[in-house]
C-alpha cells in the first residue's frame, strides 16, 4: 500500500541542461538564405518560404493579405482548381499566411512527394495572376465572414485593443472592413505581388526528414529568381490617449470580452525575458494567479490568460478573458488586485520554483520534434537575436530572483499604464 499523502521525489526541471539543436545554414545561388533542421523519425517535411510581404509594406489596407491569399488561386497555366488538385493529390498542404513584417507559404508533405511539389510552389511564387473573378469571390466571402465575426464580442475586442495600443494606421493596429475590401483592385495587388514575391528575396525554413539532394533541388527551383532583399519600413506607433473603454456590441450578449493591455519593449530590451517569467506567475499558465483566483476560486470565467505579444517592432503585455456579463467589472478589479500583490509582495520561493520547473518542463517538451525546433529558431532569426537569447532565457527562468521580479512588477504592472476594454 503506497503512502498516497507523500508525493514521490522529483527531479527539479530547473536542473536540466537544455541545448538548442543547431541549425544548418546554406545559401542558394541568388543569395536566398536556407535554414535546415534535419530531425525526426517520420518521413515528413515542412518547408516555409517567408517573403518580405507583410502588411507593413502595403500602402492600402488589405493589399498584403489579399495578395497572399490569392497566390494559389491561379497562375498563367493553371486555375485554382488545378493547383489545388495538384497539391491535394500528393496529400500535401500548401497554406499561406500574412503577418505584419512577413508573409509566408508553408508546404507540409510526405518526404517522398517533395520532388513533385516543388515545381508547383515555384509556379505559385513566379507566375500567379491573381485572377479578377477569384478576387471578387474572395472579397464577397471575406465580407460575409467579417459580418459574422463582428457579432462576436471576443473578435471585436481583439481588434479594438490593438488599435488603442498601436494606432489605427499602424500595421499592428489596423483591421479589415467591408469598405477596405471594396476598395481593393487587381492592378494594385499585381504590383504588390511583383515587388514582394516575384522580385523579392524570401527566407527558406526546412524541417523534418530532409532527403539527400534537397538543397540542390531548392537551388534548381528557386536559385535563379531575382531575390532582391527588401527592408521593412518602420511605422510610427500612435497609442490612444483614452485608456478605458466599454463597448456595447450585442444587446443579448451574455458575456463580456475583456482585454487589458500595455505597450512593452521588444525582445532586444533586457526586461523582455524576465517579463516572461513574471507573466507566467501572473497569467501565463493554468496554475497562474489570474487563473487560480478568477477561474478556480471565483468561477467568473472559463479561462483567463496573459501574454507578451510576439511582435517584432514593439511588444505589448496583454490580459484576455471572456467573463459573465454581470462579473466583468469584478474581474477587472481582481486583475488589478493581482498586479498589486505582485508589486507589493515578493513571489514566494515555493511558487517561484513551481513556475521555474513548469517553464523548464514546457521547454523540454517544446524542443521535441523538428517542427517545434524550427519554430524556435525561426522566432530567434526573425527577432534578430541569436541562440544566446535562448540560453539567456533558460538562465533567467532558473535564477531570476523574487526581489527582481517584484521590482519588475513595480515598473510594468501599473494600472495607470493599462488600456482597459470590455465588449459585451
Amino acid at each position: 500500500m503506497p503512502n498516497r499523502t507523500q508525493p514521490p521525489p522529483i527531479v527539479d526541471a530547473v536542473a536540466y541542461q537544455l541545448t538548442l539543436r543547431p541549425l544548418e545554414r546554406a545559401t542558394l545561388d541568388n543569395g536566398i538564405p536556407v535554414y535546415m533542421m534535419n530531425a525526426g523519425a517520420e518521413d515528413v517535411l515542412q518547408l516555409e518560404w517567408l517573403y518580405p510581404a507583410g502588411n507593413s509594406f502595403e500602402s492600402q489596407n488589405l493589399v498584403a493579405a489579399t495578395a497572399n491569399f490569392l497566390l494559389r488561386n491561379g497562375t498563367r497555366t493553371k486555375n485554382a482548381l488545378q493547383i489545388n488538385e495538384a497539391v491535394d493529390y500528393f496529400g500535401a498542404y500548401l497554406n499561406r499566411s500574412c503577418y505584419n513584417e512577413q508573409a509566408s507559404l508553408v508546404l507540409h508533405c510526405m518526404t517522398k512527394h517533395i520532388d513533385s511539389l516543388l515545381p508547383i510552389v515555384r509556379e505559385v511564387v513566379t507566375e500567379s495572376v491573381l485572377p479578377e473573378d477569384e478576387l471578387q469571390l474572395y472579397c464577397q466571402n471575406m465580407k460575409q465572414r467579417l459580418e459574422v465575426n463582428l457579432r462576436k464580442a471576443d473578435f471585436v475586442a481583439g481588434r479594438l485593443i490593438d488599435t488603442y495600443l498601436f494606432g489605427v494606421d499602424h500595421p499592428y493596429g489596423k483591421f479589415s472592413s467591408a469598405e477596405a475590401f471594396d476598395a481593393l483592385d487587381r492592378s494594385t495587388l499585381l504590383r504588390f505581388y511583383e515587388t514582394h514575391y516575384q522580385q523579392a528575396q524570401p527566407m527558406l525554413f526546412v524541417a523534418g526528414k530532409i532527403p539527400a539532394g534537397l538543397l540542390d533541388q531548392l537551388n534548381r527551383f528557386f536559385g535563379d529568381l531575382p531575390a532582391t532583399p527588401l527592408n521593412c519600413p518602420i511605422h510610427a506607433i500612435v497609442p490612444a490617449s483614452t485608456k478605458k473603454y466599454r463597448i456595447d456590441n450585442d444587446k443579448q450578449g451574455m458575456q463580456g470580452a475583456i482585454r487589458m493591455a500595455r505597450l512593452f519593449p521588444n525582445r532586444h530590451h533586457p526586461d523582455f525575458i524576465p517579463a516572461q517569467l513574471l507573466n507566467a506567475v501572473l497569467g501565463g499558465f493554468f496554475g497562474s494567479r489570474l487563473m487560480s483566483n478568477i477561474r478556480e476560486d471565483k468561477g467568473y470565467t472559463y479561462g483567463i490568460h496573459s501574454y507578451l505579444m510576439n511582435l517584432q517592432q514593439q511588444s505589448a503585455w496583454m490580459i484576455s478573458t471572456e467573463a459573465g456579463k454581470e462579473v466583468t467589472e469584478a474581474t477587472i478589479t481582481e486583475v488589478y488586485r493581482e498586479m498589486e500583490r505582485l508589486r507589493n509582495e515578493p513571489v514566494g520561493e515555493e511558487e517561484l520554483l513551481l513556475v521555474r520547473n513548469y517553464m523548464m518542463g514546457g521547454l523540454l517538451g517544446d524542443l521535441d520534434g523538428p517542427f517545434q525546433l524550427m519554430g524556435r529558431w525561426k522566432n530567434l532569426i526573425l527577432h534578430g537575436v541569436d541562440e544566446g537569447y535562448f540560453y539567456k532565457t533558460i538562465d533567467t527562468i532558473k535564477h531570476f530572483s523574487a526581489a527582481n521580479l517584484q521590482e519588475l512588477a513595480q515598473r510594468y504592472l501599473r494600472p495607470e499604464d493599462f488600456y482597459e476594454l470590455v465588449v459585451i
Partner: protein, 424 residues
C-alpha cells in the same frame, strides 16, 4: 471531440506492450527513446451518451472536477507543475480522455496523481460550486454567446429521437449543470471512474518493467469497481425526412443537413470516411469547388462526421451567399449528391483522398502524445493492434463501395435539415 484526426492510423507499426492488473485496469506501454518526455494517458469508458437524460453534461463536468483535488491530494495541478508537467482532458459523446506530459524522470508523479483520483475524488462542495460556474461560462462562451452556437443542439435533437446522442457533451441545458449536487456527482463517479472501466497508456522515455512496477504500486490496490454494461436505446431507422427552421439574429442564412451513417466499428466506416473527404475536405473537394467557386451559392461549405461509436451523422453544412435562396442552394447541392450516387469516383480522386489520409497519419504520429491517445482509443474501440491495420482498411476501399455508401446514406427519408435563417 474525436474527428478523423484523432483516429490515428498507422503505416509504420506502432510497438507496444500490454498487461492487465488484477483489478481489471488495462495498461499499455509504448516506449520511444527519441523523446525526453513521458506521456500518461487515462481513458475512461464514459461519455455524454452514458448520462441520465435529466442530468446531462456530467461526463464533461467531470473533466473539470477531476482537477479539483482527490482524496489524498488537495491540489492536482500544483505538484504536476512542480514536476515540470502539463495536463489536459477531453470529453466526447463516447468517452473521456485525460493526459499528462512531463519529463520522464518524474514519471512517478503522474502515477501518484492519476491513481489517487481514480481511487476517489475529494468531492468538495467548494470545488463543485466553482466548476458549475466555470462550465456555465464555457457553455455561454461556446454555445450561447456565438452566432449559430446552438445549431448542433438543435440538429442533435432533430436527428435523434431516443439515442443519447440527442444532447451535446456540454449538456442539454444550463440548468442540468447549475443543479448538479455532490450526491449525483459522487454516484456518477463510482459508476464509471474505476479500474475496470479505464485504460492506461504510458508512452515516451519509459520501459515496460518500470511501468509494471509503478502500475502495481499505485493502481494495484484500487477497488476494481463494477464493469459498466452499456445498454443504450437504439435509434429507430428514420423513415421520413425531418426539417426544422430557426430564425435568429445572425447575419447570414445557414444550411445544415445530416444523414444517418454507420458507426465506427462497421465494415463500411472507412468508405464513408473517404466519401466525406471527396465531398468536403480541402480546396479541391467537390462541394467547395462546385458550390463556392463555380456557382457562388455558399460562402463556405463543409462535409464531415464525428467518427462516433454508435451510428452517427454525415453532415453537410454551409453559409449561403447573401441573396441566394435556400431552395436554389439546396437544389444545387442535390445535383452534387446525385452525381456521387450515380457515377463512380475516378481512380485519381480516390487515390487523392487515400494519399491525404496517409499523410495525415504521418503528421499525427510525430507526437508521442497523439500516439498514446490513439493507442488508448483503439484499445477501447476493439483492440490496440487494430491501430496498425487502419491504413490497410483505407487502402482497400474501392470506388464501388463508396458509391454503395453514398446510395444508402443520401436518401431523403434518411435526412434531417436545419434551415438557420437570419431574422431581419
Amino acid at each position: 471531440m474525436l474527428t478523423k484526426g484523432g483516429l490515428t492510423l498507422l503505416f509504420t507499426m506502432i510497438q507496444f506492450d500490454r498487461f492487465t492488473l488484477s483489478n481489471g485496469l488495462r495498461v499499455l506501454v509504448h516506449p520511444d527513446s527519441a523523446t525526453p518526455m513521458a506521456v500518461v494517458n487515462v481513458l475512461y469508458n464514459v461519455g455524454a451518451r452514458d448520462e441520465d437524460p435529466s442530468h446531462t453534461g456530467f461526463a464533461h463536468l467531470f473533466e473539470h472536477l477531476m482537477f479539483g483535488g482527490s482524496v489524498n491530494i488537495p491540489e492536482y495541478d500544483e505538484p504536476l507543475q512542480m514536476a515540470g508537467g502539463e495536463n489536459n482532458a477531453y470529453t466526447t459523446n463516447d468517452l473521456t480522455n485525460y493526459y499528462i506530459q512531463l519529463p520522464a524522470d518524474n514519471l512517478e508523479t503522474a502515477f501518484w496523481l492519476e491513481s489517487d483520483r481514480m481511487l476517489s475524488l475529494a468531492f468538495s462542495e467548494k470545488s463543485l460550486a466553482t466548476q458549475r460556474k466555470v462550465v456555465c461560462e464555457e457553455f455561454k462562451e461556446n454555445y450561447l454567446n456565438k452566432p449559430y452556437g446552438d445549431s448542433w443542439h438543435k440538429m442533435r435533437e432533430l436527428a435523434y429521437q431516443v439515442h443519447p446522442y440527442r444532447w451535446m457533451t456540454i449538456g442539454k441545458e444550463l440548468s442540468h449543470i447549475e443543479k448538479a449536487t455532490v450526491q449525483q456527482v459522487r454516484s456518477f463517479f463510482y459508476k464509471h471512474y474505476t479500474p475496470c472501466n479505464a485504460i492506461l497508456v504510458v508512452a515516451g522515455a519509459v520501459d515496460t518493467e518500470r511501468v509494471k512496477q509503478l502500475a502495481e504500486k499505485w493502481f494495484g490496490d484500487i477497488p476494481s469497481g463494477t464493469l459498466y454494461e452499456r445498454n443504450l436505446p437504439v435509434e429507430p431507422v428514420q423513415t421520413a425526412a425531418r426539417q426544422l427552421t430557426v430564425k435568429a439574429p445572425v447575419p447570414l442564412d445557414m444550411f445544415c443537413k445530416t444523414w444517418h451513417m454507420v458507426g465506427r466499428k462497421d465494415r463500411a466506416y472507412h468508405a464513408v470516411d473517404l466519401l466525406t473527404d471527396i465531398l468536403g475536405s480541402g480546396a479541391s473537394s467537390r462541394l467547395y469547388h462546385a458550390l463556392v467557386k463555380e456557382q457562388p451559392l455558399f460562402s463556405s461549405i463543409d462535409c464531415y462526421h464525428f467518427g462516433s461509436n454508435d451510428p452517427g451523422l454525415l453532415t453537410i453544412e454551409g453559409k449561403l451567399v447573401k441573396g441566394v435562396s435556400m431552395e436554389k442552394a439546396e437544389a444545387a447541392l442535390q445535383v452534387q449528391l446525385q452525381k456521387v450516387i450515380e457515377e463512380k469516383v475516378t481512380d485519381n480522386e480516390l487515390q487523392k483522398v487515400k494519399n491525404k489520409t496517409e499523410s495525415m497519419i504521418a503528421f499525427e504520429d510525430m507526437s508521442v502524445m497523439s500516439r498514446a491517445s490513439s493507442l488508448a482509443y483503439y484499445e477501447w474501440l476493439v483492440d490496440a493492434t487494430e491501430m496498425n491495420q487502419e491504413l490497410g482498411k483505407y487502402e482497400a476501399v474501392s470506388s464501388a463501395s463508396i458509391r454503395e455508401q453514398a446510395r444508402s446514406i443520401f436518401r431523403e427519408e434518411n435526412s434531417n435539415t436545419l434551415y438557420y435563417l437570419a431574422s431581419k
